[in-house]
């Protein structure tokens, strides 16, 4: 690795990103061996899978589709949005407290490595969850993916888009929050609320008009809409708002969140990292001891 010529700053940065990719992979392996994380997957993913299985014979009103088939795409969207926001938000606020972030900041281009690792880790963390949802679904839903292999490829693309739209929000929440409880209160409660009303658990048409309008400003509803579009037969559009697929607005809203997030996130991260120091970590630890003790 010792190059005789002086490497350029972009080469050096790229090196740190590669270190970050390896770090992300290792974090993922560590997570799969961590009992707490496994319990989380089983409890949430397993819980939703059980919900689908218990309702496997329920037919959605006005269609010939089963509840699991209609609910699964929305659940996938909700899992992704929730994980995409909560994952980085909690990671950042906790790792600021224990000094992980400061450690990254001490190494050359270490923050680039850190953020890269976060992305890899959070994306890979969604995979076990998806597996827990999809494997049982394959047995209880007649034709899980009517569009064949191409459909799965589109699902993959939608997952990427979903992460682009949500992970920056999570990182911003995690950077702005002063302590973990802030993430769970003013960070995650609104996200949870939006998820409940975004047509994941029952059609969005059940809610008041202003609620329908509100959720259409956020990623969860539209990601769910796109997932239903790809997972369900065309006729299923009658249960959507306006009785049709609205791919344009869906992509537009998600892309807008992604662009705004990606523009803001480096600034917010830089500002947060700039404020990190040993005594800041120390002060938070003292505060935490008081909270706990």
């Amino acid at each position: 690795m010792s190059a005789p010529t002086q490497p350029s700053p972009s080469d050096l940065r790229l090196h740190a990103v590669r270190v970050g990719l390896r770090r992300g992979w290792r974090l993922c392996l560590l997570s799969l061996r961590n009992p707490e994380d496994l319990v989380f997957y089983l409890l949430w993913g397993g819980g939703m899978a059980v919900y689908l299985i218990l309702n496997r014979n329920v037919v959605m009103e006005g269609t010939d589709l089963g509840l699991p088939a209609v609910a699964l795409p929305g659940i996938i969207a909700a899992v992704l949005v929730f994980g995409g926001i909560a994952g980085p938000a909690f990671s950042l606020v906790l790792e600021r407290e224990d000094g992980t972030l400061l450690r990254a900041k001490s190494a050359p281009y270490g923050m680039d490595g850190y953020v890269t690792a976060q992305v890899v880790y959070q994306v890979s963390g969604a995979l076990p969850m998806l597996a827990i949802l999809l494997v049982p679904s394959a047995f209880i839903i007649d034709d899980l993916m009517p569009r064949g292999p191409l459909g799965w490829l589109v699902v993959l693309g939608l997952l990427v888009l979903g992460f682009l739209a949500t992970m920056p929000i999570g990182m911003i929440i995690g950077s702005l929050a002063r302590k973990p409880t802030h993430v769970s209160t003013w960070g995650m409660l609104p996200v949870l609320g939006l998820t409940l009303f975004s047509g994941v658990f029952g059609p969005v048409t059940n809610h008041a008009g202003w609620v329908q309008g509100l959720v259409q400003g956020f990623p969860t509803y539209w990601l769910g809409h796109l997932m239903r579009w790809i997972f369900l037969p065309d006729a299923a559009k009658q249960i959507e708002l306006g009785g049709q697929w609205r791919l344009g607005p869906a992509l537009l809203v998600l892309a807008a969140w992604a662009v705004v997030g990606l523009v803001l996130v480096p600034r917010v991260l830089r500002r947060m990292a700039r404020r990190e120091s040993g005594s800041a970590v120390e002060a938070r630890m003292a505060e935490r001891m008081q909270r706990v003790g």
Partner: protein
């Protein structure tokens, strides 16, 4: 060629209305070990954090390895190692994996004279963690955890190493091992070391130079010996005669003792000559500058009439 690794001119730091640093000046040269001493709240950690580029200063000029720490490009970080007071990160990682991972960041910055990163297994051996290489970080004892922090601080083979109270919580053996590591870094690799400590004994053993911070300024700057001379320049002589104990502070202890024997001969017993310790020096310096008091002898009832030239010490 200017070999100053750190240059600080008129450094100021103000929190609200309180001036923590009020015009600090000093330089550190390549291969030097300096210790920052000072009471709690004197600004030791603030100074180190400003040098590390982790804290914005209120005023003054600071140059570290040729750059202003606030404006330094990222590769500048490759030359700097940092060991903080406490770290609880990466609990799930195994010791060797973590060290190897963090070392990878330094790969492009190696030179033939300074290969980077350090070999992980040699490093684990050096800090006494070879047996714990496969353990999870969260399972380490407090002392082992500190050794790991030191190992991480030097994995990139830094030219400049910052240690903030590195041996807090070490047992005497671990402390001596740590001192050996620092000596080796300085001798073999010409590493410059800046450390803070509360342990005066450690300061004396490790540091080429001690900077005492008090009242927002550097109030003393020199070797442990020079500091002791600067403050008191006296040795304390105690003896007993006819069942009474005496104490006297002498500028020239040898001459005083010679005179003592000439005068009383065999009557003198329990003779003890004590050089001013770094602790005496430190306490009198801090008193003088923190509280505006003049230096005075340690409490404990010993008093002495310094103007007296006879060997009549003071009875107690």
């Amino acid at each position: 060629m200017d070999d100053a690794v750190i240059k600080v001119r008129d450094l100021r730091m103000r929190y609200g209305t309180k001036d923590v640093l009020d015009g600090v000046d000093f330089e550190v040269h390549r291969g030097e070990v300096i210790t920052l001493l000072g009471p709690n709240g004197a600004g030791k950690t603030t100074t180190i954090e400003i040098l590390e580029g982790f804290r914005e200063r209120s005023g003054g000029d600071v140059t570290v390895l040729g750059h202003d720490p606030l404006l330094a490009p990222e590769p500048w970080r490759a030359g700097i190692g940092i060991v903080l007071q406490s770290w609880r990160d990466h609990g799930l990682w195994k010791v060797r994996d973590l060290l190897r991972h963090l070392g990878e960041y330094y790969e492009p910055y190696g030179t033939p004279g300074r290969p980077r990163p350090r070999d992980v297994d040699e490093l684990l051996e050096a800090v006494g963690l070879a047996d714990a290489a496969g353990q999870r970080v969260s399972k380490l004892s407090g002392g082992q955890r500190r050794r790991l922090d030191v190992a991480i601080g030097i994995v990139g083979r830094p030219e400049l190493l910052f240690l903030d109270e590195p041996t807090a919580g070490f047992d005497p053996e671990a402390r001596r091992d740590f001192h050996d590591i620092v000596h080796a870094l300085v001798d073999r690799e010409d590493t410059t070391v800046v450390l803070t400590t509360h342990d005066l004994d450690e300061a004396e053993k490790l540091a080429d130079r001690i900077l005492v911070l008090a009242g927002g300024r550097i109030v003393a700057d020199g070797s442990a010996d020079a500091l002791a001379r600067q403050v008191q320049g006296k040795a304390q002589v105690t003896w007993s005669r006819g069942g009474e104990r005496y104490v006297h502070a002498a500028d020239d202890a040898t001459a005083f003792v010679r005179q003592l024997f000439a005068q009383y001969g065999d009557d003198v017993a329990d003779l003890e000559v004590r050089r001013t310790t770094l602790e005496d020096t430190y306490i009198s310096l801090v008193r003088k500058h923190e509280f505006g008091e003049e230096s005075r002898p340690e409490p404990g009832g010993r008093e002495d009439d310094l103007s007296r030239t006879s060997t009549e010490g003071v009875r107690r």
